[in-house]
Amino acid sequence: MSITLEIQLVAIIVALACALPGVFLVLRRMALMSDAISHTVLLGIVLGFFVTHDVTSPLLILAAAGMGLLTVVLVEAIRSTRLVAEDASIGIVFPALFSVAVILIGRFAGDVHLDTDAVLLGEIAFAPFRRFEAGGLDLGPRAAWLMGAILLLNCLFLVVFYKELKLSTFDPALAAALGLSPTLLHYAFMGMVSVTAVGAFDTVGSVLVVALMIAPPAAAYLLTDRLPLVIVLSGAIAIAAAITGFWIAWWLDASIAGSMATMAGVLFALAFLLAPERGVVSRVRQRARQRVEFAQLMLTIHLLHHEGTAAAATETREDHLHHHLKWEPERARAIVDGAVESRLLRREQDGRLALTETGRRRAREGMFV
């Protein structure tokens, strides 16, 4: 496989592995825990490194995942004192742990393969150079295997605990009443987030972990109401962000992780603007359509009201609408045009407006309902 292909393969696996737990982070209003965890795992890695003196040791991943869980516990512990709100609790815990890690690296590990830039930027471009070999056989990039295993683990967790996760996300009280343990599930889930963050952090850096965990699920959440579809769409959006981001970075010769994060944001922005029902554009158009429909209804009611009366001669003239309904002439013409097109009324020879049978029925419905 060529290098670019391998990088993209790793990127796709990472994107999928992040998007899966991300869906539930977004739905459970815990999106920023991913920010916290993806930063504090660094401390776990540093501490693990001090014990093993080996940056490739699998112990580092365990230590980092443990630190992720510790972050969750600490945030919860501080919040439970009720001395600070939850967001402030997150805002205190993770910068503190991250600071310890940065200082430890600066003081004691600056010369080894642990530097703060790599933490933020990630090194996915180097992923193909770190191979996984077994029995002298080159089996591809190490990151692909590692993240593949984590992705598999995430899928497994999701399949086994799908019902429990869904219930405790949407109705925690019912979940507790049915005998599920939301707390246990919460920590199991956060453990899964931690492991994912550690693995992804090693390849793509902490920024992209946050972007890939939150942006694709949030975009998918705007596109559909069905949970399985949200999960599938999140995966698809994450992959799209990874691939487009990669090529843009390749073309600009800039940070790949940063570019993927940017594309995740662009895709979210597209969903935010263009989503079929909840997008800004379709809601603006829907509101405009409703305004026109309402104006047409007003017009039919107005005409019905004067139909067959002595005032009809003046009241039903198009140029009179300006006085009566306070419509500017241009607007009045547009609305009448629309109403004529929908066969609610027709223009008579003498400039008066006459209701059709449909228009009459619409007006009555509008008044009686």
Binding site: L83, D87, D117, A218, G258, F272
Partner: protein
């Protein structure tokens, strides 16, 4: 002591210390409002979002002067805030997700720009990456002047609009009914928050600046219920954290300023959470112990009183064993000693105990209170 001496002698150190203290005071002040308004993590989004603003400002002007970069950061921070507010206001995306998206995407975009700029054959770009973790050592006197004057603007706004900001933080609707333009005030306060964050970026860095908004304020909140005192304390904590962090990072090699400042602020938070009067965890634990002991003492006192009443004679002494048998396992002996200390009971005979006159009065008071309550 040596450090203190250097502080007055060493020009660089003095500049750095002044700058760090100034930014701490400003971020502490504005942070108080952010924490009270549950906007702690907005600071995180703003500071991360500032990165592309900084790099773009450099790309557009070719200048690395603090004022230009701070302005770029400020504009980006405001745009980020606007996006967060629009997304949460218009769509059903939860606020935390909106914050997470904005911070990671802006920051990612900033990294793209930064890595792009670093490959330009333009030597002037060197040093932009210190904005990631902060480098107080790069502060020059003119930087400190920029930081201090922009910070003064923010502090002045807080003073001038004290009443308005207070209304906004505690009862926005009430403010609106009084005829205040709450939306304008909101924009003003948020702008000042952005200002407070961006002036700290050069020293503390975009990654950790949010802690300087949250930590001093969260600590100050523990010591007082008054907004005025909280803001002053928060500013003080921020200043102390900035100063000590900058000094620590200047005197120890390999310690970036941002993390050092953040750890100093965190230390203040930990002390406050534990020991603040009335609210602190340790304080509350002590208080709980004291109350539990009081309840035990009252119970033993009432037992003694009941025994005396049953025997129809006030001076009838009862062995401690009887009292222990009435309430096993709650430290009756210790309670008896405490009662003796208060002058409510005294020893009588070998192992006997009897209530004093004061003790009987107190017991009757307790019983009266109990009756009133039920």
């Amino acid at each position: 002591m040596d450090l203190l001496f250097q502080l007055f002698q060493d020009y660089t150190l003095r500049t750095v210390a002044l700058g760090a203290a100034a930014l701490g005071i400003v971020s502490g002040t504005l942070g108080a409002y952010a924490v009270l308004r549950r906007q702690s993590l907005l600071g995180d989004a703003i500071s991360h979002a500032a990165l592309p603003g900084i790099v773009l400002a450099f790309l557009l002007t070719g200048s690395k002067s603090t004022l230009v970069l701070v302005l770029g950061a400020g504009v980006a921070g405001l745009i980020a805030t606007l996006i967060v507010m629009t997304v949460t206001g218009v769509s059903r995306v939860p606020e935390d997700s909106a914050l997470g998206i904005v911070l990671s995407v802006f920051f990612g975009f900033g990294l793209v720009l930064l890595t792009y700029v670093q490959k330009l054959p333009d030597a002037r770009q060197a040093g932009l990456e210190t904005f990631l973790f902060g480098q107080a050592a790069t502060l020059l006197e003119r930087d400190v002047i920029v930081i201090a004057s922009l910070g003064a603007v923010a502090l002045l706004a807080v003073l001038l609009f004290w009443k308005e900001f207070k209304l906004l933080s505690f009862d926005r609707e009430f403010g609106a009914t009084l005829g205040f333009p709450m939306r304008v005030i909101d924009v003003l306060l948020t702008t000042m928050l952005v200002l407070a964050i961006v002036i700290g970026l050069q020293t503390v860095g975009v990654v950790l600046m949010s802690a300087m908004v949250v930590a001093p304020a969260a600590a100050a909140r523990q010591w007082t219920h008054g907004l005025g005192r909280m803001v002053v304390l928060s500013a003080l904590f921020g200043g102390v954290a900035g100063l000590s962090g900058a000094l620590a990072s200047s005197s120890a090699p390999g310690v970036a300023t941002g993390p050092a400042v953040v750890l100093a602020a965190t230390a203040i938070v930990i002390v406050s959470l534990l020991f603040a009067p009335a609210r602190g965890v340790a304080w509350r634990a002590l208080e709980r112990r004291r109350r539990r002991r009081e309840i035990r003492e009252d119970a033993v006192l009432l037992d003694l009183y009941a025994l005396a009443a049953q025997h129809g004679m006030r001076e009838h002494a009862h062995p401690a064993d009887v009292l222990v048998a009435m309430r096993p396992g709650v430290g009756v002996e210790g309670s008896l000693d405490a009662l003796a200390e208060h002058g409510y009971a005294r020893r009588s005979g070998d192992r006997g105990w009897v209530l004093t006159k004061d003790g009987r009065t107190h017991a009757r008071d307790l019983l009266d209170q109990e009756r009133d309550r039920s």
